[in-house]
Symmetry: C2
Subunit: 366 residues, 2 copies
């Protein structure tokens, strides 16, 4: 119920009610209930049903297999992230079925950087009012993202706040928990000169830089529903810009498992706000540099399109966008080719970006 | 930088930049950095430092003590919650130092209902712009809440979205993870006729029903900065309404530990939206009722004040607010007095609310 209706309702009923304050508890409950099936799709045997409860339960040591065979000193890894103003683009286009994939991707891609395997995910959705046609697709996207990442969607919160969010507006936050064996957790000190930097192709803009994306679109007066062959001959500008963030979990987790004894992967980076250099830097220690070759990959059309229409300079593009590389691995040189082959087999597009040299913790592009 | 400045900046620099789109990455980074000390205050030896990383790491089996002595079949429990439109009240009063305690309380109080011990917490803060004088107190409150709950603040996200949030507005979401031994997790089927229902006093309105609270204040034309002796002779109306949510973690966790062999606590409930009946119901199975005595506790002045000024009817009040009881325990009758004494010693105000009878899963007030 819109907040504007409230005083009328209150007057009719002789006193204020929660519904007159714009909050429909029953609609919220019905919606929460409808999520059950979506969530169960993502549940393995580790998840303990908790009907009516507000908490998600995941049995860590299912059948005592987990620790006996894999974990001696388990470390929980947790991340949280949102999808920034990509939300506004989804709202403008009234297309809500993929933003939930972005939400999951942003957190789980951060999680695997630590060497962790995602276990569970929770979402926070804040809305003006509970509208099934908006929330349904959003949460279906979240469930889809969890299926891709093979983690359990075990909880969430739908907050109805009609005086903080305008009609049709919403915000999303995601939260992921994973586990990694302490001795296999990513450790920047293991990176050595000679290691090779591999880059995995992004699926598009992912979920960073959308304040600038939207400013460019507005500035250039671009119709999101138009098709520009320069960008993509088959999809509208809006569709290209809403392409969901690639979830790198399964290829990375499976590759880490394959090399877990030799530990040939010495560092990883999820390329988000700050760009390739800003994020890969976090994987380095102060005595090494990463020297990357700009020609190692082609910058996808979407970034050239945004740069051109916004008149954005190259350095700014590099700082804000992933420019085509969504995830990086630093790999011992003798294993670089085999890791690249494996990732390719798992569906990734792999580029050899450069190498690690002695240095001072910087990423240098040449 | 306000979004309005953006076109001017863009024109001056000849192209669009991320800063011209209203996002100040450097200010965000500086703020993130300043959080380090706050977060470290909440860290025990289990937390693994991860400077520059986007993920929080917590060693589950620190020194192999946890599992050897306490956990054979650990279950991870995770919750997420926000603080609803209590945020708007904090904004109206420009008082930001306690809303973070509310945020932690909402999630960790849900977590302990499952019998779990909170381990770690993460926050998501979405703002129009990074403003230290607002974010600083908010995050200090989050850290304070984590200290009270004895859980580690191991991560968070500050999202700057100037086109989703108006200047001065923000939203908060919290995520908590805990652990419980499977055999000691709360199990509604253990509730039996004869069990006693204990209620712990709330500290005030907690974090539910604020859309209605604010509607009442507006409707009655109440000045939040005024003092009404009927409500509280020493604090302004705003201060009373912003009183942070009580964190029940330590008293409950310590009580559960004291009775962990006998398992005399058969159910618990955190009283949030839906009120005492709506939440206590979740702790029951379909063959028992909880019969509560309305005279077992005095409804605090703040609820009588809100009811009077909003002309809200009693049933609606019961459905929306905690009415003075923030947390319930269902306890074996022979242990009710000793559990109550223990909780009192831990600082709680305990009321014997009623008993469990044969029934159909309902909460009945008499």
């Amino acid at each position: 119920m819109p907040a504007d209706d409230a005083p009328k309702t209150a007057a009719r009923e002789g006193g204020l009610t929660y519904a007159s304050a714009g909050v429909d508890i029953a609609a919220g409950d019905r919606f929460a209930h409808s999520l059950g099936a979506l969530m169960r799709r993502t549940h393995g045997p580790r998840v303990i049903p908790n009907p009516g409860g507000f908490a998600g339960l995941l049995r860590l040591d299912y059948n005592e297999q987990l620790f006996r065979h894999n974990y001696k000193d388990p470390v929980l890894v947790a991340c949280t992230d949102g999808v920034g103003t990509k939300i506004k683009l989804a709202t403008d286009l009234a297309k809500f079925d993929t933003i939930g994939i972005d939400l999951v991707a942003m957190s789980v891609n951060d999680l695997i950087v630590q060497g962790a395997e995602p276990l569970m995910f929770l979402d926070y959705v804040a809305v003006h009012a509970v509208e099934q046609h908006v929330l349904g697709p959003i949460l279906a996207g979240v469930a889809k993202g969890c299926e891709i990442a093979k983690c359990a969607l075990i909880g969430g919160e739908t907050a109805e706040m009609n005086d903080l969010y305008k009609p049709g507006e919403f915000d999303l936050a995601g939260f992921a928990v994973g586990v990694v064996e302490l001795s296999r957790a990513t450790d920047t000190t293991r990176v050595e000169p000679g290691d090779v930097v591999l880059g995995l192709a992004s699926s598009g803009v992912h979920s960073n830089g959308y304040s600038l994306v939207r400013r460019i679109i507005e500035h250039a007066g671009i119709d999101l529903l138009s098709i520009d062959p320069e960008l993509d001959p088959d999809r509208t500008v809006g569709e290209v810009l809403l392409e969901p963030t690639r979830v790198y979990v399964q290829p990375i987790v499976r590759t880490l498992r394959a090399y877990k004894v030799k530990k040939v992967i010495t560092g990883m980076a999820h390329i988000t706000g700050g760009g390739l250099a800003g994020n890969l830097e976090r994987a380095l220690h102060p005595r090494v540099d990463a020297v990357l070759n700009r020609d190692a990959w082609d910058v996808p059309p979407v970034f050239r399109y945004l740069q051109k229409h916004g008149g954005v300079d190259a350095a700014e593009m590099d700082k804000v966008f992933n420019m085509g590389i969504g995830y990086c691995l630093i790999v011992r040189p003798t294993f670089a080719a085999s890791v690249a082959r494996r990732l390719t087999r798992f569906g990734e597009t792999v580029h050899t970006l450069g190498t690690i040299t002695k240095g001072s913790g910087a990423v240098r592009m040449k």
